[in-house]
Amino acid sequence: MATKKPNPRSRRASPKVAQGISFYALVPVELIDKGDDKSQYGNGVPGCGMPGCLIMCGSGCGCLGGGCAAPCLK
């Protein structure tokens, strides 16, 4: 899990990717399961606490269906 910070110049000078691998010819990586794709956007439960959640903030601003970031309210 070493963190590498390649110099962009040296990367261009020694482009292993460009020399050794053609992404065009690869057998594609296969998506099996997108998993918890709601993890960034609220948990699907109204009142989940996402910023802008009408139920959570109770502001009554009328953003329901418009400004709320949480898909559960759309």
């Binding site: 261009r12 990586v29 998506l31 399961d33």
Partner: protein, 460 residues
């Protein structure tokens, strides 16, 4: 097998810090992302390129001529799945902040009330490793009334109420369960909240008559514990008079599978030195209809104060405790069982206790934050005395409980498993004990099992 981390590139993407790849079969590697719980399959021949891409590739223009089929974000077509599964993410995503957000959102959500109610601390079994200090007591009408008054007064804003029936053996007090359910349902109807419950039982009294009441009681999930085949189970989990319990539990499970469709049944298998070798026989003893319907998971028997810190699993656990469990998970899956490793589920806390509005109430009305001993000295208050009278000592314990978190623990913040275990057992952390789960010592084996489990669900 390997862990990938891609530095922020000149383009708009970076590799997620929580990708983990394992060699799965002769043709492929699988990648699992602990944060997004996503899975990709990488063909064997593609794997080196994926590793190179994730660790050092740039998605900038220099790849253009080699990847003409880029999507609008610049990802080569052959690697689109990495983006769809969030193995590569927008460079501006701060994954640690996302984990913190999910953790605290779950911990401090106040729209959900989770109660563990113990109608009794009595049990008809006499298991040597039990972690509870048993008392010959059951909840009476006065305590029930106080519990209901406390809930109705305190949690009028809740949107969901979940009650877990626990004990002792809760089914020794079926009438109490029925009576409390009636009140809880009525309360939820009045405030417009939803109501569900679950049940942790030894299974002995889960007869077909009670099974017919599950729907009315809104019991949606049940956990039963078995400790191996008949011989091993009856040695551990017998009645107080010494009579075995396996046959009756077995019949109850068969009956459940034949008659109940709107409730989930899971089997917890407690593993120890004396029963480890008998567990595969237990798994094989059940017919296929049970294996296809019931969820099974495995946990080592742990030491506890109530069982005088007696060791029940040290030999079988050995130096690689998860690998011992893994053998059982694989055996179960091979036999057609549905497995459920608690650490692989879609949740944002380690345990049900990781909730601000989670309380456990014993038959005397004492209120606890965690179910590990039910000694009155560990209570934070009582519904009988009113929960507004928490003293300074209990107040500090309450605050310490919710202030504890893994983000001040460097070992946790650097750990690949953080988005799965969220820092492990809260009680252990508060008490200064070791919090790492067994899975953390064998992540590659664990990920392999997790992928097998998820693939079996997808296949269904």
């Amino acid at each position: 097998m390997s862990v990938s981390e891609l530095e922020t590139t000149s383009s708009g993407f970076k590799a997620s810090k929580y990708n983990f790849f394992v060699k799965y079969d002769k043709d492929s590697y699988y990648g699992y992302n602990f944060l997004y719980r996503s899975i990709v399959r990488v063909p064997d021949r593609t794997y080196p390129a994926v590793q190179q891409f994730l660790t050092q590739a740039t998605l900038s223009t220099e790849l253009d001529e080699h990847a003409p089929n880029r999507n609008p974000q610049g990802i080569p077509e052959s690697l689109h799945a990495l983006q769809e599964a969030s193995f590569i993410v927008d460079r501006n995503v701060d994954e640690m902040k996302l984990i913190r957000f999910r953790y605290f959102r779950n911990l401090f959500a106040n729209d959900f009330l989770s109660l563990v109610v113990l109608p009794t601390l009595q049990c008809n079994f006499c298991c040597p490793y039990c972690f509870e200090f048993k008392k010959p007591m059951a909840m009476n009408d006065d305590v029930q009334g106080a519990l209901i008054r406390w809930v109705e007064k305190t949690f009028t804003n809740t949107r969901r109420l979940h009650v877990a029936w626990f004990g002792g053996e809760p089914l020794m007090q079926k009438k109490r369960i029925s009576s409390l359910t009636e009140h809880f349902q009525s309360f939820c109807t009045r405030i417009g909240a939803s109501y569900e419950s679950s049940l942790v039982t030894n299974g002995f009294l889960l007869d077909s008559k009670f099974q017919q009441s599950l729907s009315d009681l809104r019991i949606k999930s049940i956990q039963i514990t078995l400790d191996g085949d008949k011989e091993a189970h009856d040695r551990f989990r017998h009645l107080k008079n010494g009579n075995g319990t396996f046959d009756r539990i077995y019949e109850n499970i068969l009956s459940f599978c034949d008659n109940i469709d709107d409730c989930t049944l899971s089997l917890r298998i407690n593993c120890g030195d004396d029963n480890y070798s008998r567990i595969e026989k237990l798994l094989a003893d059940f017919p296929s209809k049970v294996r296809a319907k019931v969820l099974v998971y495995f946990r080592w028997i742990f030491k506890s104060q109530a069982s005088r810190y007696q060791e029940f699993s040290s030999k079988a656990r050995g130096l690689a405790p998860y690998e011992g469990l893994s053998r059982l998970y694989r055996a179960a899956m091979t036999l057609g069982w549905r497995t459920i490793n608690p650490l692989g589920q879609f949740k944002d806390g380690f345990c049900d206790m990781d909730k601000l509005n989670h309380f456990q109430v014993d038959p005397e009305g004492n209120v606890y934050l965690c179910s590990h001993s039910y000694r009155a000295s560990e209570a934070i208050g009582s519904v009988v005395g009113g929960m507004g009278t928490i003293g300074p000592k209990e107040h500090n314990r309450y605050v310490d409980w919710y202030a504890a978190n893994p983000f001040e623990d460097k070992k946790c913040t650097e750990c690949m498993l953080l988005p799965a275990c969220f820092g492990g057992c809260r009680k252990t952390r508060v008490e200064g004990g070791p919090v790492c789960t067994e899975e953390s010592g064998a992540i590659e084996v664990y990920v392999n099992d997790l992928i097998r489990e998820r693939l079996s669900k997808i296949a269904v």
